[in-house]
Symmetry: C2
Subunit: 457 residues, 2 copies
Amino acid sequence: MKPDYDVIVVGAGLAGLTAARQLERSNLRVLVIEARDRVGGRNEEVTLGNDLTLEVGGQWIGANQEKMFALCREFDLKLIPTYNEGDNLLYINGKCKRMGSQRGAIPKLNPFVLLDLYRSIKKIDKLSAQIDLTNPWQHPRAREWDGHTLESWIRQNISTHQAREYFRVVAEAVFATEASDFSFLHFLFYLKSGQDLETLISVEKGAQEYRVAGGTQQISRCLAGSLQTPVLLDSPVTALHQTDEGVTVQTAAQTFTARKVVVSLPPTLAGRLHYDPPLPALRDQLTQRVPAGSVIKVMAIYKEPFWRQAGLTGQAASFEGPVKITFDNSPEDSSYGVLLGFLEGADGRQAAEWTVDQRQQQVLACFARYFGKEALSPLDYLEKDWMAEPYTRGCYGGHFSPGVWTAYGPYLRQPCGHIHWAGAETADIWNGYMEGAVRSGERAAGEISISLKQTKA
Amino acid sequence: MKPDYDVIVVGAGLAGLTAARQLERSNLRVLVIEARDRVGGRNEEVTLGNDLTLEVGGQWIGANQEKMFALCREFDLKLIPTYNEGDNLLYINGKCKRMGSQRGAIPKLNPFVLLDLYRSIKKIDKLSAQIDLTNPWQHPRAREWDGHTLESWIRQNISTHQAREYFRVVAEAVFATEASDFSFLHFLFYLKSGQDLETLISVEKGAQEYRVAGGTQQISRCLAGSLQTPVLLDSPVTALHQTDEGVTVQTAAQTFTARKVVVSLPPTLAGRLHYDPPLPALRDQLTQRVPAGSVIKVMAIYKEPFWRQAGLTGQAASFEGPVKITFDNSPEDSSYGVLLGFLEGADGRQAAEWTVDQRQQQVLACFARYFGKEALSPLDYLEKDWMAEPYTRGCYGGHFSPGVWTAYGPYLRQPCGHIHWAGAETADIWNGYMEGAVRSGERAAGEISISLKQTKA
């Protein structure tokens, strides 16, 4: 019996849509099935009453993320440089210290802390550079590095309190989880995957360099719009039944057949589908071990970006929560001022238990601490708890607990019968980022094209 | 509309059946729903062609596991002391060293190693004794201990190579995972939960003291048989829909309603059900972070327990895998000799990739290394990979990755609306053991009885 489709793609985020596009270009009949009522996954725009469009999901591209730049060019999406004029703030011991906003700016810390910090960063970049991104578990010291957390490394290798705290804030900012929660090997892999630590945390020539005018979700909408492939929304996939010939994909209402399937969900969600026959033991145990981070993205909207007049970029890094990282997220025409903050890791989890009012109050208090009392009186307040989203269950992405890369690494991308795996967490380059999602979609599509050609031959 | 039942219990292992019994005794109408075609969960008997019944799941009770002793008395199940006469073996550097088999026997290691080992055990027992089992995250040093792995602690606190290896083997034997894979706080909690390290690893007055004649699955069968409550087999629950009034429980074929539900599945499986409305963010993030261990239980059946004549207990602990831990599992009448071994942690994962023949060959080679060439010629060979079981997905139980207890501990037992949580992983006393499972069932049933009484009043 002829299957309904050559390939079914589960998930209409960047990974899934990219895979669909590439497969369609190979003249395959493709269907994309999406749980939500929209495409875009972890990219999402919200338009407020005043016609102001803000992004509650992943929003930045930068550095050498060439796939993302190419997509923006293709769809004629304008890039807006992240506002970066003036000084950044570093909030320590109840005080704001100004520092430059250029890449590699030196925070105003005491010389011992600085020395400690730079030695550590140099050491980490040196270790990180040795990782083979495709097989991080094969480094001679992989088991050692995978045997402890970033927190253990911090305690053993960094001696000053402030340099330790700096690293912990970096961990929260990059992974939305605590330094105690993930493997040191994963940390090294992730830095190399996104070039290096400086690139991951920078605006200038870094991962936060540009926003996309109108929002990054547009990329998924443009991708979906450019497809001949149908994208079925509102249809959570519940089960995948495999035979030698192909896969039957089940949603609550419908059943479809295909020769191959791409599952582009984050590991923790991919592991929840019902697979018949059951997935191999080690693939299942992998998805038990790559939990999603903990973040609530918050924004306060003001009449104008008042901090700019004070010579501030709107970027603060703080040793005290709950909001430890902020950015200026104002629209390009500065018709409003928008402060963006992240409640990450332990702060995010704690804040998840508060009411919206409590969160707003706490968030504004942080904004005021960094940028003055004007921050207490916004026109509007917006937030998104990605942990509470049933079809995401945490952002920015999945992190590898200690021991996981070395024990289960090979199962991350290895297809299971006719099922192939995509998603930002499966990328070797720019793992966890939009760029990685796109690359993973291309890889999965490539695997399938080769496999189907071999079947024909 | 009156619901079909007062309480539906998901899962017919010891936790679920105990909950059902207690709820039924409170005159509540109960239904138990089980995915498998049998009761007993991680307890399972297999009867070989020669009428020999062997246990491929959890099999021992001992120490102060009073609930388990009481159940065996109630159902008139005979206890068989684990064979413990003669010497145990310690296999190091290619050689077998004999040591006593009594509790606390001193391994024959060099005095520096012994000193290192005893200092470490003393230190750990001292730290462990400070843990509050109900709230391990509240210890003043909880965040510190939860911030690193047992492996990190080993490297920082144990200086001799052999003492380090000893601890790693203990970690594998107790958790079926590597010392690198779980939080040091979890280690401390778990030891205290089962009394102390010595109790967990001992036969004499320890967790491996007795077997149950005929097998521990009988306890679940007796429990199920003693219930008026129906136990619906072959019915994997897929979804739970909650309203203010109660819960609708869905299986592939049927739908039932109840005022309350007990989910007695291990965390990693509980997290895979579809919940509507979705579970709170932090409950979901918890179940993303308590993966199951990795173990294949193997047995070789011989004409007789030949190692006994050599004055050996059949118990070996080895620094070299793949089988690092063995026991004499012969039937009480010694009509056959049965060597039992465990492929745990990294060894278990590696062995999961082998064929049955490859595993048998590797296992017998280990048995021969410890007990002589006779071990190479068994009458029969039996194995069970618990990672591959779709309704278990790993044994012995779930472990807490670093950072999880301190961030998510409170959500382990906290009911979500009308849904209550049971299972060995939710126990404060004997967490991860049959005793813990029974206790968790009693606790969940108690919560529901109180809650339903309050609703009435």
